[in-house]
Symmetry: C2
Subunit: 199 residues, 2 copies
DNA sequence: GTCTATAAACCGATAGAC
DNA sequence: GTCTATCGGTTTATAGAC
């Protein structure tokens, strides 16, 4: 009857994997959260790893065709990255765990990571030629920066949790723009000032 | 007879946890790696979480009393941070997993993290007043930077693994100095040039 | 201190009724 | 499609011999 049983399973699995990781969640847990029996879940996904594989497939949306070319577009992209990482933290935070399940999963992670890096590289290339960011001080400077950016996007949330007893409330956008500020041209700084003043 | 059974257990546990994480290692695995029976291990640590708690205690050495004040000392500190993270990756990489075991473990992590951050803050304060790094462009600029530095120190190794199919060999020291370069004064750049030329 | 043996619970996967 | 029942294996933790 319910054609959406499969979707209910995937949604329940995503939420549980996000919170407890692949090993921390049993097939029984997923069935209970989806409101179905374990036998029924097995009917849809015969093996546990089939669940996470289907989850990866449904969550691997292609990146937008054009990389950001303005400060505002880059700011939006940071927000989107942050949302994606939090909504699919099973994928980003537990990637060491996932890659040990199967080789296919590791390659999916690796492919997604390289696509994101290429996207960011194109973005900063455009932003430089549009006069928002200054030229490189040395060859590969922006590549270093992009590596650091990606790590902050992925690991900021758990890092934030680790320092939660610190009084000052951390914020991803402030963090990442704080590390980028020195690279902005006067034109870039003016536009960023406008954006940050709005919220 | 053997007074070092406890140490053998901790060492075996550290290595296995580093490789497979807390959930990925059973008490039987640890006993086998330590060359003793499971019952004997239970005699020394009645519960599995007691093992990781004892491991945390034995690995939580206090930081050196004085923070780095020269470029060379900072470079050495980066190398040491990297070594510590790799030797105790069970602690750094699986902290989300560990903090769900017990509240005590989470607080140990949080305390260690804050101690490291304070150490880095003192270091960059000294390095600025010694004329190796430029003053802040805005209040909190170096705090942002230190957050990013810490994340790179912790997550660089698994990140490196994720991009292993990329041709260029990544390197933590180059990565971190690449992100710091623009903050160095001429004096700082001269000293860094000397250090990097040596190896 | 170290061991073997085992209890009690949970795991993923399967079989078969409806 | 959905369910209950169960198999074979593994887990942590305990009991007791030496």
């Amino acid at each position: 009857m319910r054609r959406d049983t499969r979707q209910a399973i995937l949604q329940a699995a995503r939420e549980l994997f996000n919170r407890h990781g692949y090993d921390g969640v049993s097939v029984r847990d997923i069935a209970r959260a989806a409101g179905i029996s374990k036998g029924n879940l097995t009917y849809h996904f015969s093996r546990k790893e089939d669940i996470v594989a289907a989850l990866l497939e449904s969550d691997s949306a292609p990146l937008p065709p054009a990389a950001p070319g303005t400060i505002r577009e880059l700011d939006t992209m940071f927000t989107d990255m942050q949302k994606t990482v939090e909504a699919q933290s099973y994928f980003f935070l537990h990637h060491a765990q996932l890659s040990q399940i199967s080789e296919t999963i590791f390659h999916t992670q690796s492919r997604r990571y390289r696509a994101m890096l290429a996207h960011l590289q194109e973005a900063f290339c455009r932003l430089r030629s549009n006069g928002f960011f200054r030229p490189e001080l040395f060859s590969g400077e922006y590549d270093r920066l992009i590596n650091g950016l990606y790590m902050q996007a992925v690991y900021w949330a758990p890092f934030e949790r680790l320092q939660k007893s610190v009084s000052r409330r951390p914020d991803f956008r402030r963090q990442v723009w704080g590390t980028l500020y020195h690279l902005l041209t006067d034109k870039g700084r003016a536009e960023l000032g406008q954006i940050l003043a709005l919220d």
